[in-house]
Amino acid sequence: MDIVTFENVSKTYRSGETTVTALGDVSLKIPRGMFTAFVGPSGSGKTTALNLIGCLDQPTRGTVTVAGQAIGSMNRRQSAAFRGKHLGFVFQDFNLLPVLTVHENVEYPLLMIQDLSKAQRKPAVEKVLTAVGMADQAGKYPAQLSGGQKQRVAVARALVGNPALVLADEPTANLDGATAQKVIDLMKRMRDEFGITFIFSTHDPRIMDQADAFFHMEDGRLKDDAATGGAS
């Protein structure tokens, strides 16, 4: 069962008088529960692919299906609702809310998006914070945390709503090698523990080797379909 499918997907932008092709006629499938990476240099189209999977953008041509839903037909409100229900995000710069504590940052999706009660939120937050090893830091603010700790909180925030899919755009780019490895290990462990599909982008060869499957992108196209491991 595929959680993501691209069928002849293209994405073009207007930049002044010229048209830039960010993705050109890409077709791919990503099965559920995979630890999948989009790899390639800057400008290769991996972030565009993640944005399309994350319903943050819409394809110019072709069909993107995520968790059984064609995202091209959704309006802003429906996209937001879909993201809140099915997707989790981990960002390169962590993007934690500085005014909220670790606990409150992780609680945010349940409180402001899923509108769950406190009785429902508390055990869910504690569960994921324990899983990422940040339960003892729950009362701290992001400014009091190291980069690795922030990214673990970001992973916890992405997982807390029990999404079908977590998207991570260059999650290790701002971390040193050892910390980056810890974050990758954490994400793989979360995949195993929670059965959630992880899709991330990276240009770090040490990280891409640890993916179950990867899509090598260059100039908006899949470079080598044979290198996709379990994905196709």
């Binding site: 229900k85 995000f89 998006i113």
Partner: protein, 416 residues
């Protein structure tokens, strides 16, 4: 709603200095409105009270046409005895009338046997006059008998003339007046006191007994220039005036002209324009408050959105609905306005309390009369200032909040 407010307050506290300065600016605006409203309101009450309670009373009834030439104190537009008696009965029966006083107003020559000058005089029935203008005794300096306002054969001279002619209480003066037919009469009077000047019409008039006025003008029967009427509830003045008008308007001359005309204090004194000007200034201060709140909240919210574009993108990416993002920013503006309004209301009422303790004296008018003000503000006025601030804060937040809600997450996340 509580969670949105809670997050909004935290975001405001993120920029403590900016929030404090903006809140302070709003608070100072509310403080200014409350203090100005309190001071101007008490100033208005003091002056209107002084004018109506010691000179004009609340409304006056004249023979139709008298007001058109009131400056000449015409003797040919008097209310004869019979219509006055009828009017007197009507006023006694009118609900809301506390008292009324007939007056004979005329011009005369005042002599201290060495100098002569013009004087405007009111012939009054002292007992009735006190029911219409109870503060008149408070204006009399050096009264001959503090318990008696005026006795037959006595005159109360306006301060400015008494000073100029060197006349004081107990002195004898001569009053000479022309009656309606042009014949001259003179009578001697004892000065029973000096009347403090007050701005506005009648503020520099003298007083004598109504019987003496009739004798000086050689009236065979008493004719009245005006009837000053005091109402029991000042706020119901318009209603009482309307009721009196309703009863008097069917009374017409054989030519079909109305016999009487009724004027409230607003139509009798130019000070009403000052009152209106004070009201306009109060409105002006409120408009300035609106501008201050609008500009400061708008500025803070625009800055807030600009500085948090990436954060807005994160919220949107996680699935926060645009309407909730908008609510977050509107709530920030609302909380900022609320904090400023509450602080301003506390500071404003505190300032009025201090002003009441220390006392505020204001000199007004050519006569240089000093009024001691007791500034106070109705709770409704404080509430209205706070509501204005809250409304304007929300309105000022709408545009930046809408802009935040409309940000495309993919663009916002790229923002550096």
């Amino acid at each position: 709603m509580i969670k949105v407010m809670s997050l909004a307050i935290r975001n405001l506290l993120r920029y403590k200095r900016r929030t404090l300065l903006t809140g302070l600016l709003i608070a100072v605006g509310v403080l200014a409105v409350i203090v100005f409203t309190g001071l101007s309101g008490s100033f208005k009450r003091a002056i209107v009270g002084q004018i109506t309670d010691s000179v004009l009373s609340h409304l006056q009834v004249h023979k139709k046409g008298y007001m058109a030439s009131i400056d000449n104190l015409p003797l040919d537009r008097m209310i004869p005895e019979k219509p006055y008696n009828k009017l007197s009965g009507i006023l006694s029966d009118t609900r809301g009338v506390a008292g009324f006083s007939p007056r004979i107003k005329f011009g005369a020559m005042l002599s201290n046997f060495a100098q002569t000058t013009n004087v405007r005089l009111n012939g009054i029935d002292p007992e009735k006059e006190l029911t219409a203008v109870p503060l008149l005794p408070s204006r009399i300096k050096d009264p001959k008998d503090p318990d008696v306002l005026l006795a037959p054969g006595q005159v109360l001279l306006p301060e400015i003339l008494a000073k100029g002619m060197g006349v004081g209480t107990g002195d004898t003066v001569v009053l000479v007046a022309n009656n309606r037919d042009g014949s001259v009469n003179g009578m001697t009077f004892e000065v029973a006191g000096v009347v403090e000047s007050l701005m506005g019409p009648g503020g520099r008039d003298g007083y004598l007994h109504i019987d003496d006025a009739a004798a000086l003008l050689r009236m065979e029967t008493i004719e009245i220039s005006e009837v000053a009427v005091r109402v029991t509830d000042f706020d119901a003045l318009t209603d009482v005036a309307g009721r009196i008008n309703q009863v008097l308007s069917p009374m017409v001359t054989p030519k079909g002209q109305p016999v009487f005309e009724v004027h409230t204090w607003q139509q009798l004194t130019p000070f009403y324009n000052v009152v209106r000007m004070i009201d306009l200034m109060t409105l002006g201060i409120k408009i300035i408050l609106i501008a201050v709140v609008l500009i400061s909240v708008l500025n803070v919210m625009i800055m807030s959105v600009y500085e948090r574009v990436k954060e807005i993108g994160t919220l949107a990416a996680m699935g926060t609905q645009p309407s909730r993002i908008m609510a977050l920013f509107v709530a920030e503006g609302f909380c900022l306005g609320l904090a400023g309004a509450v602080a301003g209301a506390v500071l404003g009422t505190g300032a009025l309390w201090i002003l009441n303790l220390t006392g505020v004296e204001v000199a007004f008018g050519g006569a240089g009369q000093v009024f001691e003000l007791a500034p106070s503000v109705a709770p409704g006025e404080v509430l209205s200032a706070c509501v204005i601030v809250l409304l304007v804060s929300v309105i000022a937040s709408l545009q930046p909040a809408a802009k935040a809600a409309a940000l495309e997450p993919v663009d916002a996340l790229r923002h550096v």
